[in-house]
Amino acid sequence: MSGLSLKNVSKHFGMLEVIHDLSLDIADGEFAVFLGPSGCGKSTLLRMVAGLEPLSGGEIHIGGKRIDALAPGDRGVAMVFQHYALYPHMTVRQNVAFGLRNIGTKSDEIARKIAAAAGTLEIAHLLDRKPAQLSGGQRQRVAIARAIVKQPDIFLFDEPLSNLDAALRSRTRIELARLHHRLRATMVFVTHDQVEAMTMATRIVVMNQGRIEQVGAPMEIYLQPATRFVASFIGSPAMNFLAATPTGDANGRIMVRLADGTTVATAIPAAALPASGPFTLGVRAEHVLPGAGSPARVDVVERLGERTLVHALANDGSTIVYDEPGDVAPAIGDHIQLTIDPAHVHLFDAAGRAYHADRIA
């Protein structure tokens, strides 16, 4: 049992409050990703779990045991740092062994553990090198090996992929996912990269300005973002946001009119919505369909290979992005017509709260 539980955790640096009364439970064996823009407090939160930042308030429990007063080394956590934080003056072997020696592990056991970890991470041939002699990817593996040998209750990752190039990053993502699967350990991973979050997490914790915006499985967060912030942060390209005015309802579902005059009959229950206030309609690119509909003019075309993103200007000047499969795309300046798939639109109230259509089972 090594779940992580945060209870009313808060943190402030002087007058500046960076974590607001935050509570969260992460179950044993979960791969939880703290996702958010820089400065949202996700790293601070991770460092509080690690014991590198003291709490201003609240409690942290691991496996049911309160640990927030313990020294970092006593918490049963291991951490992989953004810049790996390998000890530059020690060999790989010494790096990996350092923590074990500090807790008095016997030499033969250390050797065995290092051998196992080196095998797993394919770094056996690097053990006698110094970190400076390793490539970025190799350092990454050493950092992970250093965490693994300690057999911690929880692995903490602080944006460990941000220093890798794109190819290595996607490969490491897969390896980490595989590692998680094999170790069945609880992992907490901090990133600002939604792709990392989507691909690896069993649960994503979206954070913004020291608060949790939403906690959920990746697809849940993608499909039913709890707030406009989450909606905008998850998904690429970002969700289209258009000002929308409710015009009534049909069969209990709200109807809205967009700025260009188009009316969209959403699948969102009208009853859920507050009575008034400005609304924003959100729709992802894949749910904007070219063909008949409102007129628009092609502004920018982004070819991604497997698909092409088309940025179009509606006649009220708002930008809408939609995608075409493959290389099929209109030319810049072309006049096209776009339809929004009403089944997949979201509405956001002035406070950013989201309203979705009932989940399509």
Binding site: G51, G73, M79, F81, Q82, N102
Partner: protein, 283 residues
């Protein structure tokens, strides 16, 4: 260390040659007295008694150096200087590193206040407290000991501030990793931070050593027994008006002999002097 290219980028032509000649000229001025001293050290004393010119012409002699080897207190003074300078260096490195780490990386109650105190201490000139220091050491009867020669220098805060600066520039991640590796605070310092700060240690070490080696006022008043003289004080004692005329060559040979080990030490550590300072960004 990207500077070499940086400088070469805009160097070319006539201006460079003028600059280079200027530097060479300065270098000639700088080295002339030293060459002269070395020259004098190879001249017979009775010749020098009448004239100190013409050092490039014979007669030459090795007698002055032979005399040093035969009978001279210079060895003993060098040893004293070495003990004092090395003692100061090792102790300064130790306590300055500890304190620098404490200030740069740990939190404890009253840290800010103590650090302000250290900064303020920077303004205290060592020569201005010699009189009370001398009185204090006299009261506890510690003059003419290595402790007295070594200790007062340890109080000057330059080393602490240098190490504080340097430790602040070391990525905290590595220390955090060590903390997570169950290392105690002292172990983090001793096993991780200290090895990483060797360039700064080298810089501080070299400056402390040179300072200790060249110190004059304090040893002059504290080391009053000739057997406790450091090289500076000892050589000054040789330089009586009388000795100067009776043995300029011998004196110069002793000067050369005394300067040699430090010069060699300098040449050996030279690259650290610059690169280590460069390693600690002066934020």
């Amino acid at each position: 260390m990207a500077a070499p290219h940086a400088m070469r980028g805009y160097r070319n032509g006539f201006g460079d040659r003028v600059l280079f000649v200027a530097v060479l000229l300065l270098a000639a001025i700088w080295i002339a007295p030293i060459v002269w001293v070395v020259g004098l050290s190879f001249k017979p004393n009775d010749v020098l008694m009448r004239s100190t010119g013409g050092i490039v012409f014979p007669p030459f002699t090795l007698k002055n150096y032979a005399d040093i080897l035969a009978a001279s207190s210079v060895f003993h003074w060098m040893l004293n200087s070495a003990i004092v300078a090395i003692g100061q260096t090792i102790l300064t490195l130790l306590i300055a590193s500890l304190a620098g780490y404490g200030f740069a990386r740990t939190n404890f109650p009253g840290k800010r206040m103590l650090f302000v105190l250290v900064l303020a201490a920077l303004a205290v000139p060592e020569q201005a407290i010699i009189v009370p220091l001398h009185t204090m050491f006299a009261v506890v009867d510690l003059h003419n000991t290595y402790a007295a020669l070594i200790a007062p220098r340890l109080a000057f805060p330059f080393g602490v501030l240098l190490m504080t600066q340097y430790f602040r520039a070391i990525s905290p991640e590595i220390e955090e990793a060590a903390l997570l590796d169950s290392a105690s605070r002292f172990k983090v310092f001793w096993r991780i931070v200290l090895p990483l700060s060797i360039p700064a240690q080298a810089t501080l070490g070299i400056y402390t050593f040179l300072h200790g080696w060249n110190d004059y006022f304090w040893p002059l008043v504290s080391a009053t027994k000739p057997e406790m003289y450091t090289l500076t004080v000892g050589l000054a004692a040789m330089q009586t008006n009388f000795a100067q005329t009776e043995g300029i060559g011998f004196l110069m040979a002793q000067a050369v002999f005394a300067g040699l080990p430090v010069m060699i030490l300098y040449l050996f550590f030279q690259r650290y002097i610059v690169s280590a300072v460069a390693g600690a960004p002066a934020k």
